[in-house]
């Protein structure tokens, strides 16, 4: 079995190869990369600054000059939608990262230690979860005030519970594993066992939760901004652009002002979800994927070969 192996491949390389063989991951990654690229080079692509005002050409429909039309102040919608992506994606990624960080640290500690620590953190998470997230966010925003960083903090504080429960559950089963007992017998300290030895084994669900949370937070940001409570209106974000649709006249007659930002959100979130699904397929060994198929063969050969 050992001799059969031609070249040792690092797990990272196997992982990337499997990911690139997963259609939904590839589609999702393509969508995300293109949109991030466009967001970064928004000005170069559209040729206009998103803040450039041209009142004479206000509320023009899509044309070759302005692919997505212009708003009431004559600002180019293409430029605004693309650069709006910067803020929206930034909020989504950073908030998701922070929420996962909080959830992971708390989940790992509570899951490994159990007992009182676990009970306390668990009650706190239940307390936070009893409130509908939107209401909680509204309360926090009114306390902290508007601003892009405040939105991120609020999302992190209200969105860590899913990851927390996920990681805690994983730790509950992993802490009973023989290798953890072995770690204890080798004299390793608790933090070392928790973060260096058990945590790497829970990375898959954390990565999946991270991507799913990005999508959730981008939508949440849009909703919050639509209500005028998120990022200040002066910064273009996808949510802020949608605010235009609060006006029934805009909904009726100037469709390009809300259809394009809405599409941008929908497509990006779809892309993120595709990546999340793909990651889940690749990282979950029970799922049919390249690595799983090979493992099956190895396991089968191993079992037949070692039959006493």
């Amino acid at each position: 079995m050992q001799k059969k192996k031609q070249e040792r491949q690092s797990t990272a390389r196997i992982f990337i190869r499997n990911l690139l063989h997963n259609p939904s991951a590839v589609i999702g990654l393509t969508i995300i990369s293109i949109m991030i690229f466009c967001a970064i080079f928004a000005v170069q692509i559209s040729g206009v600054e998103p803040e450039y005002i041209d009142p004479i050409n206000g509320r023009l429909g899509p044309s070759f000059d302005n692919l997505m039309g212009t708003d009431q102040l004559g600002r180019d919608m293409l430029s605004r939608v693309l650069s709006g992506g910067r803020q929206s994606i930034y909020v989504g990624v950073v908030a998701s990262f922070l929420a996962n960080l909080i959830g992971t640290i708390l989940g790992a500690t509570a899951g490994y230690l159990g007992g009182k620590v676990d009970a306390v953190v668990m009650r706190v998470s239940e307390l936070v979860m009893t409130f509908p997230q939107l209401i909680l966010v509204l309360i926090f925003v009114s306390l902290l005030g508007q601003g892009i960083n405040n939105v991120i903090i609020v999302f992190a504080l209200t969105g860590w519970m899913t990851t927390f429960r996920l990681v805690r559950g994983e730790f509950f089963s992993l802490r009973e594993e023989a290798f953890v007992e072995a770690d204890r017998a080798f004299g390793f300290s608790k933090p070392r066992i928790i973060f260096r030895h058990i945590l790497p084994n829970t990375l898959s669900p954390i990565v999946v939760a991270f991507t799913i949370n990005i999508a959730i937070f981008i939508i949440a940001e849009a909703g919050l901004s639509f209500l005028g409570l998120g990022v200040p209106v002066t910064t273009p974000t996808w949510g802020n652009l949608l605010t235009a649709a609060q006006n029934p006249v805009v909904v009726d007659e100037y469709w390009w002002l809300w259809v394009f930002p809405a599409m941008a959100i929908a497509i990006f979130v779809l892309g993120v979800n595709f990546v999340g699904d793909g990651l889940r397929d690749v990282l979950d060994p029970r799922h049919k994927s390249l690595i799983a198929k090979n493992k099956w063969k190895v396991a089968l050969v191993g079992r037949l070969g070692s039959k006493k």
Partner: protein, 345 residues
């Protein structure tokens, strides 16, 4: 003979009692276990499942499950010049953690689940070394590769980078032995290290352990229920039954001349190639009673063919039948022999 007076002992268990809390009940798992282990010896602890072999090991390294505790008795461990009482140390304190891994190595039964699937094996061995000694990572790596080579792991440089699932069972057990011995501990406790392996690999692993004992002068405690293995490697044997050591002696004394009815029955149940094919293999009648059921007297009384009323009256003490050979049975005569059975059984 006690550790404080005898410098040749490395570990001395003095009537250790371990109790487990299970819901409202308290189970008495280890009863007055006393074992004196000389430095450089190879002790085998045998007995059927549930007799407290593994609990003894866990009690020594202070890794009993949360609901278990050493309720009385002392576990003395000789550390160079000083003697420490292991069960008086803080379970996860610095001192105990320094002893675990560095002074007492552990080898576990299930090799696949005892290794962390997320880390390279080399790193796992090196980590144990880095944990206990102030050496550089490169140095640790060199020593790990060296040890891998010594333990018969082919192509150690390359295997250092491999993950546990890429190893076969025997190779994984070698890695476990590497982790347990890399810090040069004085005492190695192996808890059924070969149960999950097939017979040829078993032999290789046991030879390896025996070599380590002979060449490096390490002390081994091997927990097993495999009698053939015991006769191969052990110097001393302790037979346990339901939390008590019922017979203790050198391997010759216990295996060739068992005195306790339980040891006798255990030896009779070992399959023998020369035996008459028409004679059915003997088994020990009945089942191990649950620790909760035990009341007074000899624990083996319920299954013992030699049982008399006196067996159930009070706790049986260890008696010496030969120098170094102790048996816990009151049915032995002046010469330390069991009476001849009349009738069936």
């Amino acid at each position: 003979m006690s550790l404080s007076t005898n410098k040749d002992l490395i570990l001395d268990l003095k009537s250790v009692n371990v109790k487990f809390k299970v819901e409202d009940d308290t189970l008495h798992i280890l009863r007055d276990v006393s074992l004196s282990i000389p430095r450089g010896s190879f002790l085998c602890v045998v007995g059927e499942s549930g007799c407290g072999k593994s609990v003894t090991a866990q009690a020594i390294v202070q890794l009993l499950p949360d609901n278990g505790e050493v309720s009385s008795g002392d576990i003395l461990f000789s550390q160079g010049d000083k003697v420490v009482v292991l069960n008086k140390l803080e379970k996860f304190g610095k001192q105990m953690r320094d002893i675990r891994g560095a002074k007492i190595g552990m080898i576990f039964q299930d090799t696949l689940s005892s290794l962390n699937p997320a880390h390279k094996v080399g790193r796992q061995v090196a980590e144990s070394l880095l944990q206990h000694f102030p050496i550089s990572k490169d140095e640790a790596r060199t020593r790990v590769v060296e040890l891998f080579r010594k333990l018969g792991i082919p192509d150690p440089e390359r295997r250092y980078e491999a993950y546990p699932h890429e190893f076969s069972g025997g190779m994984r057990q070698r890695v476990m032995i590497a982790i347990a011995t890399i810090c040069e501990p004085d005492l190695v406790i192996a808890d059924e290290p070969t149960t999950a392996l097939d017979v040829t690999i078993q032999a290789q692993i046991m030879t390896l352990l025996k070599d380590l004992q002979k060449t490096a002068g390490k002390t081994f405690i091997l927990i097993t229920h495999n009698m053939a293995l015991v006769s191969e490697v052990a110097d001393h044997v302790a037979v346990m039954y339901l939390g008590r050591v019922v017979e203790y002696g050198t391997v010759e004394q216990v295996l060739r001349d068992p005195r306790h009815p339980y040891t006798k029955a255990l030896m009779a149940s070992v399959p023998n190639l020369d035996a008459d094919k028409n004679v059915e293999l003997q088994t020990v009648d009945g089942q191990t009673p649950s620790p909760a059921e035990v009341t007074l007297g000899c624990e083996f009384a319920g299954r013992c063919p030699y049982v008399v009323a006196a067996c159930r009256e009070k706790t049986i003490e260890m008696t010496q039948v030969n120098p170094g050979h102790d048996v816990r049975c009151i049915r032995l005569d002046k010469n330390g022999k069991l009476p001849v059975l009349t009738g069936g059984a």
